[in-house]
């Protein structure tokens, strides 16, 4: 009895081993899904060469803002699967916009850059890096699909195409009701000049944030100077980071915050907090958010493949499904949470030129104007 059991076990083990030995070369020979999807032989050869080089490089190091660590992991996993790079090490570092600029600048200065992909929302910094030759020239074949990025003037040929995110007002319906404002269903930036919101309005610190200052400037151009004065009259409390405004509104500490992203809205909604967001009918300023490859990237082939991936239709949808609530620069990406994030094609963008409207001088002049109305004064 015992003997036959042993024979059965041995036979099963031998069978399993034979199966594995037979399957291993087959798996090796299987084409990576990315290659299988490419019809053009020249493109296939190019991607194959990049894959082989990436296998030798063995790693991808990516730093970014907006895409939270938990959302980056599925993106890296799918990237590896899609290109057959399961053995490479993928690492994502999350940082705030300013912190990324500071630390990467310091690493570049020290000639110690260890990032293959920098994905930030700092237009002026990108332009400086470009001027200094710190960005690798790379034209992904998917860039041509980024028509929305082109339309909004967020593409730089041969270097990047951009997605974007936007700051829009969030409000706590319970806190609003406690202020005696009935049936608050805002549709316009003007709705946040309601005198009952005075002292209960929060806003990201436009005196510090280099992305929020142009945004408020852009909105004020559409809404007029009187609107800006009315907002100043609300004595908004300035917060230093978007998460702070999110938590203040979520906790009911403030009834509304003027500039938060859909990501913040989703975070509050997922915790069953009575918070809504409005994309005002006058539009929002789209903040460009693009992946670039530093010229000193330690794993350039992997970086190029990654850019291909996150600019492809499959990659953008993977990002959206992983929780990256962005306005993608290519049409056709289906929002995972349509109630939270409108489609990129539908969002009304306030015309804004990041080259000319967000220079240091322009930001300085705007801050002076805002301060003269009392914004930033305690």
């Amino acid at each position: 009895m015992l003997g036959s059991q042993k024979i059965r076990t041995t036979a099963f083990a031998a069978f399993a081993l034979a199966g594995w030995l037979a399957a291993a070369p087959l798996a090796q020979a299987q084409e990576a899904p990315a290659l299988a999807a490419i019809k053009d032989p020249a493109e296939k050869a190019r991607v194959s060469a990049l894959i082989e080089a990436a296998k030798k490089e063995g790693a991808l190091s990516w730093i970014g803002v907006q895409i939270e660590p938990g959302h980056a992991d599925p993106i890296i996993t799918e990237f590896k699967r899609y290109y057959g790079l399961n053995d490479i090490k993928g690492e994502y570092t999350y940082g705030a916009t300013g912190a990324i600029v500071t630390r990467v600048e310091q690493l570049l200065k020290a000639k110690r850059n260890n990032f293959d992909i920098v994905w930030n929302a700092s237009w002026a910094w990108y332009k400086d890096l470009l001027k200094r030759g710190e960005i690798m020239k790379y034209e992904s074949p998917y860039y041509k699909d980024y028509t929305l990025s082109d339309k909004h003037g967020m593409s730089v040929k041969g270097y990047w195409v951009a997605d974007s995110y936007a700051f829009a007002p969030i409000y706590n319906t319970k806190a609003i009701a406690e202020l005696g404002i009935k049936d608050f269903k805002p549709t316009s930036w003007k709705d946040f000049t309601n005198p009952k919101l005075a002292g209960k309005l929060a806003m990201i610190n436009v005196m510090i944030s280099t992305s929020a200052a142009p945004v408020l400037d852009g909105v004020s151009k559409v809404m007029g100077e009187d609107w800006l004065k009315s907002i100043a009259a609300q004595k908004p409390t300035l917060h230093s980071k978007a998460a702070q405004g999110r938590d203040w509104v979520g906790a009911g500490e403030f009834a509304a915050a003027l500039f938060n992203s859909p990501k913040d809205h989703l975070s509050l909604k997922s915790r069953n907090l009575p918070v809504n967001q409005v994309f005002p009918k006058e539009g929002v300023v789209l903040i460009p958010f693009a992946p670039i490859i530093p010229a000193s990237a330690p794993h350039p082939a992997t970086a190029k493949l990654f850019v291909d991936f996150v600019r492809s239709a499959h990659g953008t949808q993977t990002m959206m499904d992983a929780g990256s609530l962005l306005f993608f620069g290519r049409p056709g990406v289906k929002p995972k949470y349509p109630d939270i994030l409108p489609r990129s094609e539908e969002v009304k963008a306030i015309p804004f030129n990041w080259d000319t409207d967000a220079t240091n001088d322009k930001i300085k002049a705007f801050r002076a104007r805002a301060a003269s109305y009392g914004i930033g004064k305690k």
């Binding site: 230093s240 998460a243 979520g250 906790a251 403030f254």
Partner: protein, 563 residues
């Protein structure tokens, strides 16, 4: 062989230490590179613009109203912190050391709790308790007032939190002084008709003045340069201090190193002046509290005030521990709305920081590495310096201690900036080692002062006898002095370990992605995670530090008793 010849002979050091004079040159060289060079780098940067020396930038920086406001805020916060910490610290020390307050043995270790805790976690806790609208206390009291009664996002809020966290410094310094004081002085005052209160004010406190003053200066300098608490509590309320402006100058784009250096130089000048003032005030004054007579400090009978004293001490502990309990509650909530809700109970926040968040892991591992290795290196260096200063007759050894004491006047953020400017193009930048070196240098005065006390506590006769019997200098030190001071070295290691693990000011300037420490990880997590997740990480950090302290105390206590 005479004693004189034994001590003046050339040192027979182990080969890795080289010959005596060479060792002194090496020590001066290392101190010059690690202490003086970073400060010079900051100073030179203050006067440099586009490669040329100029004072124009200085004028530009100090013409800004924001800077003037930050200077005033820094001064107010530092003074208020000192006042708070000294009043509370001296009171508690007196109650523990000289009164018959009940539960003294329980209160004594508890009063030291803030010393082991991160002030950043403390700031986060107070945010939970006294944020203008969502703070627990404000939520409770708001119905009684027309508006939230407390606002932690003010200079007063920052000073309160710093005061609470620096009370143990004053407490510890004063306690030591009071416990070693000759009670006959107080007896004389009492016999001359002075009341208990007048005796305490006119006799006891003046005798402890040097200890209190030393602690006050230390607290002042630390509070002036502290970064974490003003970042957490000041920025939301637009309360800027010099340290947050220095950080801001480096973190804006393009980074303004000149502005950061000018502000750092101003801050350094500010703290150095107070340190010099302390030295000048204490110059030539003798405060003998320990006499050669046999005595035992007598306790003052508080009578019916005994329980009021218990209340005072308990209130302090409530201010320290209460907010941590609130933070603990928040860490189990999926969202914080100003009140605890059973329906919002979750373990998800702990799951996130333990299993998901990579930065939390990195911060934890990096901090343990830096603190463990750094404290070990620091103790070795400080002991070597102390031995060279007090157990050799090497030329120029007298200059080592003053040079090594310079960092006591340098705020961490200034030192961090100095290291950044000086070492950014070296292979050290972007490693844990640069942070560790900054910590060792910043707390070199603490380490050296303690090491000197340890070495001086061992009678010279012991090692001199060994040397007369033919032992080399190194053998005498390693076989006689070091074993005798070993328990003290363990305590010093523990002190430095705890100090390093809490440190944030210098590392904030020096970290890069991958070299975050635990406090920086907390600040980063606070950037994007809700209160609950930050709270969970803060609680874990606190538990970890307290567990480390308890463990190390447990491990080291049998050795101490044996010694």
């Amino acid at each position: 062989m005479s004693l004189a010849s034994a001590t003046s002979n050339s040192l027979r050091l182990p080969s890795f230490l080289g010959q005596g004079p060479l060792l002194v040159v090496l020590i001066y060289g290392v101190l010059a590179i690690t202490v003086i060079y970073p400060l010079l780098a900051v100073l030179i940067q203050s006067f440099s613009e586009a490669g040329a020396l100029t004072t124009a930038k200085i004028a530009e920086v100090f013409s800004s109203p924001n800077i003037i406001e930050a200077v005033i805020n820094t001064l107010i916060i530092s003074v208020m912190t000192v006042l708070f910490a000294s009043v509370v610290g001296v009171t508690l020390a007196w109650l523990i050391a000289r009164s018959d307050m009940p539960f003294r043995r329980v209160f004594d270790p508890l009063n030291m709790i803030p010393f082991y805790l991160s002030s950043v976690v403390g700031a986060l806790s107070w945010q939970v308790v006294a944020a203008p609208r969502s703070g627990l206390i404000n939520s409770l009291l708001e119905p009684l007032f027309s508006e939230p009664p407390f606002n932690i996002y003010t200079v007063w809020g920052i000073a309160l939190v710093l005061g609470l966290f620096y009370t143990p410094y004053v407490y510890l310094f004063t306690l030591g002084s009071l416990q070693s004081m000759d009670a006959s002085l107080e007896d004389s005052a009492r016999m001359s008709g002075a009341s208990k209160f007048m005796t305490a004010i006119r006799i006891t406190l003046p005798l402890s003045a040097p200890a209190i003053l030393s602690a006050c200066i230390l607290v002042f300098v630390t509070a002036a340069g502290i970064f974490g608490v003003p970042l957490v509590l000041g920025v939301p309320g637009s309360v800027h201090t010099l340290s947050t402006l220095i950080y801001g100058a480096i973190n804006e784009y393009p980074a303004d190193f000149a502005k950061a250096a000018i502000l750092s130089s101003a801050l350094f000048l500010f703290t150095a002046l107070f340190t010099v003032a302390q030295i000048w005030i204490l110059r030539g004054r003798r405060f003998t509290t320990v006499t050669g007579k046999g005595y035992r400090p007598r306790r003052v009978d508080l009578g019916r005030w005994r329980w009021a004293a218990v209340g005072v001490n308990a209130l302090y502990l409530l201010f320290v521990i209460g907010p941590f309990i609130a933070l603990l509650l928040v860490s189990f909530q999926d969202a914080w709305t100003g009140a605890f809700s059973w329906s919002r109970m979750t373990l998800a926040n702990y799951h996130k920081v333990i299993f998901v968040d990579a930065i939390a892991h990195r911060g934890l591992i990096n901090s343990i590495f830096i603190s463990t290795v750094g404290a070990s290196i620091a103790v070795a260096i400080c002991m070597l310096l102390a031995l060279v200063i007090h157990r050799t007759r090497l030329p120029a050894r007298e200059g080592i201690a003053p040079l090594a004491m310079v960092p006591v006047t340098v705020p961490g953020i200034v030192l961090g900036l100095g290291f950044l400017i000086a070492l950014i193009t070296t292979p050290l930048y972007g490693t844990l080692w640069i942070i560790m070196i900054a910590y060792i240098v910043h707390y070199l005065p603490t380490g050296l002062r303690n090491s000197e006390s340890l070495v001086q506590s061992v009678s010279r006769e012991l090692d001199e006898s060994a040397r007369m019997s033919g032992a080399s200098w190194w053998r005498a030190m390693s076989r006689i002095v070091m074993p005798l001071v070993a328990p003290g070295m363990v305590s010093l290691w523990l002190l430095l370990f705890v100090t390093y693990i809490r440190e944030v000011s210098s590392s904030m300037m020096l970290f890069t992605f991958g070299t975050e420490t635990i406090s920086i990880a907390l600040i980063q997590i606070m950037e994007y995670e809700p209160y609950g997740v930050s709270g969970a990480f803060g609680v874990l950090q606190t538990v970890l530090v307290l567990a480390c302290v308890a463990f190390i105390r447990q491990v080291s206590s049998p050795r101490q008793s044996n010694a």
